[in-house]
Structure formats: C-alpha cells, structure tokens
C-alpha cells in the first residue's frame, strides 16, 4: 500500500514538472540538465557468445550462436559476426544455418555454460566496483556507474569509459569488447550505448537527446516490451520522440494512467519508473519463479508433474536460503498454441517444497482441457522475511522443516539435488541457471 502511495506521489510530481509549467519540449529537455548528474552504462557486446569466443580462439571471427543445451533449436545469444548476418537472440537454429549458408559461411553452435558466465559476471562486477562502489549491476552483462562518485579521479567520463574498456579486456580477455554510453541519466546512457557501434565510448547530452530519441526504435528502448511496442506501432509510433505529438489525455485514454505517464517521460528522455526502481535495492525479493522450455511437446502428465516438482524444489531452496516465506503460488503451462495458468493465495506463508507442490497439484486438477506442454513455469510471491511471519506450531510442519534443513545442508555441501524426492528418480534433473536479466541477483549476491 505504502509502495503504491509513493509511486503515485512520484508520478504526480513528474506530471506536475511537465504539465503544470506548460513547458515546451526544448524547455523540458534543458530543464532536466540542471538537476541530473552523468551516468555511464557499460554493456558487454554479445556477452555469452563473446565469452565463448574468448575461451576458444577457433571460434573467433566466425558466426556462432549459443543454445541452452545440445540439440536445442532456439538461439539464446549470437556473436557479433552472426548478428551482422541478421541472426538475433530468439532466432531458430535452422534459420541461422540458412542465413550463414546464404552468406557462404558455416554456423558454429555451442551450448551455454551458465556457471562460466556467472563467474565472469562476478569478476566484472568486482572490477567495476573497484572503480566505484556505487556501481549498479543491471543485468548479467550490464552495469550503471554514476560519474559523480568518481568525478574527482576521472573528471572526463569519456576517459573513464576508455579506461573501463581496457580494464575489462585485461580482466575477461582481449576478445571481450564493451560499449560505454554516457548520458544525463540511466535511460539515455543505456539507449546511447545500445545504439552505438560495438566497442565504442559515446556520449549523449540534453542537446543531442532529441535526435537520439527520434532515431532509436522501440526494440532498443529499455522498459518497452513487445506488446507495448506493437500497440504503439498500430498508432504509427516507432520511436520515443513521436510520443510528444500525442496529447496526454489521449495517451491516458489509450494506455492508462501509469503507462501514459511512463511513455511521456521516455519521450523527453526522462528515466522510466522501471529503471529508477532497479537502482533502489529491495529489502528482500518479492517473488521467486522458475520456468523451463522443453525440447518438444510433452503429453505425459507424469513428466509434467515431475518437472513441476523439480522447479518447485529450486524455488523453495532459494526462498529458504533467503530466509523468506511466501503466500501466492502460481503455475502456468504453454504448448501447442494454448496456455493455461492459475494461482492461489494462501492464508499463511509457506517455505517447504512439499507444501508448495501440493498447492501446484491442486491447481493442476482445475485444468479442464489438458494439452501437450512445452513451457512450464512456477512462482512463489508475496514473500516476507520468515522471522516476520507467524511460526507454525504443528509437529508435522516441524518435521518438514527438519527434512528441509537436512536437504539444504547437503545441497550446500554437495550441490543442489544431491538428495531429492523419488519423483525425480530416473528423470533428468533440471539444474538452476542464471538468466541474462539476472532477476535473482538479490539471491546470487546475497545468499
């Protein structure tokens, strides 16, 4: 409730700053420059693929893609050389092969090594923090550095940017390049580095911001998802600057009070709520979820249940490690063009795999028309510090707690899933993996 109030306050303050003063667009841009410092956005180019090329010189200079595992068909990362041929994250391996064939080249395919990427991210974060303790890790391969914190050591942010590039090469390897975008806030700095040539240090200020906003398509704008991008495209809006041509009332009627406000902020280069919020560390995670996309459609209800148990085990291990408990259990399934999802909010917090899995099972029973499944997701939300919840008195709960503690201590010593339920017997265990967005950074750095 208090979070919503503060959000509303922020929005009304921002609204006032633009609308009440009846500022012209140029005045809106110039007014911002008065009250914001400089921000550097560091973005490693084609992270997963570049690290693999760094590791394996035979792959350097060749179009290559990273897939989740051997035999998978979806590209999760493409090298700089592959991107030049139009191969993107999300492309199908078959299409990528065809594009390479047409260009007379051979596509290299390699499975991801999430442990290695995570190790590299830890090294990267340690390096950036050695420059400034105020470094904000935004994703696995991106970070923001406020220039104000190191202005006395590096008065010129471009010199700092070039120094960062050199030190990143020394730390991660000579093949690893990065973009450094310098801007008056996170939003513009990120947009600048996303659109600049690979391996560059570039700068945007309030004078050049309108041009950047008028040239950057929404797929390179942080905070705009595919669905919103499509809705904007239906209005003929393809770059943030075009939003300025719409009346605020019209935007509000089309996108609602929150998104109309966010779009207006982005249109003048202000930081959207998403980026401002990401800079503020949360006291604890709000939800923990895990999803998996299979190789092919799965008809077996038993295999779906085993996979769900596997995912629930990982979620609950993380929840317990962060000393949390949650009340809302959600599950969703997708496949064959169909999707199904359900959630249940419990009266008390849970933190045991068996408790969450029994809720998942009862939700599954509500499914009316089963369909073959390819994507499975579970989550536990409404998380709260366990010490702040009412401690259960039931002996059965304490028995479960002792089992969970024993399993967790074995997992800490010998690895996750060293001991697990017989439900996973003779099944391929799905191990935890880091995501590009690093949504669980609170867990990864904190637990």
């Amino acid at each position: 409730m208090s979070e919503r109030c503060s959000q509303n306050e922020q929005l009304s303050q921002s609204r006032q700053s633009i609308q009440d003063g009846h500022l012209s667009q140029s005045e809106q841009f110039s007014q911002e420059s008065a009250d914001t410092g400089k921000m550097l956005h560091v973005d490693i180019n084609s992270y997963f693929a570049t690290l693999l090329q760094q590791e394996t010189p035979a792959l350097r200079g060749k179009p290559m893609v990273v897939v989740k595992d051997v035999g998978r068909s979806c590209v999760i990362a493409a090298s700089k050389e592959a991107k030049k041929l139009g191969i993107q994250t999300g492309s199908l391996v078959g299409d990528a092969k065809l594009r390479c064939l047409q260009a007379g080249k051979q596509l290299q395919i390699a499975p991801a090594q999430f442990d290695v990427y995570w190790s590299a991210t830890r090294d990267l974060y340690a390096l950036l923090r050695s420059f400034s303790p105020d470094t904000e890790l935004f994703s696995l391969d991106e970070a923001f550095i406020p220039h104000a914190s190191i202005q006395r050591l590096y008065p010129d942010p471009e010199v700092l940017g070039r120094e960062l590039q050199v030190r990143i090469k020394q730390t991660l390897g000579e093949w690893v390049t990065c973009n450094v975008g310098i801007g008056p806030n996170r939003f513009l700095a990120k947009m600048q580095s996303e659109t600049a040539p690979k391996g560059s240090v570039t700068r945007v200020n309030w004078q050049t911001a309108p041009a950047l906003l008028a040239q950057t398509p929404f797929d390179s704008v942080c905070g705009i998802g595919h669905r919103l991008e499509k809705r904007l495209a239906r209005l003929g809006v393809r770059v943030p600057y075009q939003i300025n041509f719409f009346e605020p009332e019209l935007l509000e009627s089309m996108f609602g009070p929150f998104w109309s406000r966010e779009l207006q902020k982005m249109a003048v280069g202000q930081e959207p709520h998403f980026l401002t919020r990401s800079a503020t560390p949360l006291p604890h995670m709000k939800s923990v979820g895990r999803s998996i996309t299979g190789y092919e459609l799965c008809w077996s209800a038993e295999l779906v249940r085993a996979t769900l148990y596997n995912l629930v085990s990982e979620v609950m291990y993380k929840v317990r490690r962060m000393q949390l408990g949650g009340r809302r259990v959600a599950v969703s399934l997708r496949g064959d063009g169909q999707r199904w999802g359900a959630h249940r909010t419990l009266q008390t917090e849970i933190r045991h795999t068996a408790a969450m899995f029994s809720v998942v099972q009862s939700l599954l029973e509500q499914r009316q028309q089963p369909f073959p499944v390819i994507k499975i997701a579970v989550s536990l939300s409404l998380l709260k510090p366990w010490q702040a919840t009412q401690q259960p008195l039931l002996p059965q709960w304490h028995r479960q707690e002792r089992i969970a503690q024993a399993i967790d201590s074995m997992a800490d010593k010998h690895g996750l899933f060293t001991i697990t339920s017989g439900r996973l017997l003779r099944k391929k265990i799905i191990m935890p993996e880091v995501t590009g967005f690093l949504g669980d950074k609170t867990f990864q750095f904190g637990a």
Partner: protein, 81 residues
Amino acid sequence: MYETIDESISVAGVYRQGKFIPKKFLWQQRAFVITQVTFVADIRDGSDTVRQYTVVASEASYRLLFNRTHETWRLKEVWCE
C-alpha cells in the same frame, strides 16, 4: 564443439604475482605445452570450488579443472572442429 574427456591429468605451472599459471599438462603419457590461457572461471559445486582454466595447446583448446578442495586436476573437455 567441446567433447567430454573427464580424465585425470598432471599439470605443471608457475605462480606469477600470486596467481597460478598452468604451463604444461600430461595426458595419456603425452606432454602438452600450454601457449595461452584464454579464460579462467571459478565454479562452485556444493561446497567444492573448482577453477576452470581454458588453455590453448598444440593449436587446440582444452578445459582443465582444478578442484580447489581436493587439489586434483582433470581434463574436462577438448575442442574439436
């Protein structure tokens, strides 16, 4: 594509500025001279910490694993075109 080997090996190297740099490894009674260390990653496996060195020797890439808890070396994988 890296092919799994997972065999025990012997490794010789030097410590430079407090860091270990592998220089040579012995696998199946053949010595491989390491010309480049291209990547080093620290990986956790339960309470065991493993350091993965990716090295170039005889123009091929090899992933060597050093288990820091048990102080053992294994050749994990070799790159095959």
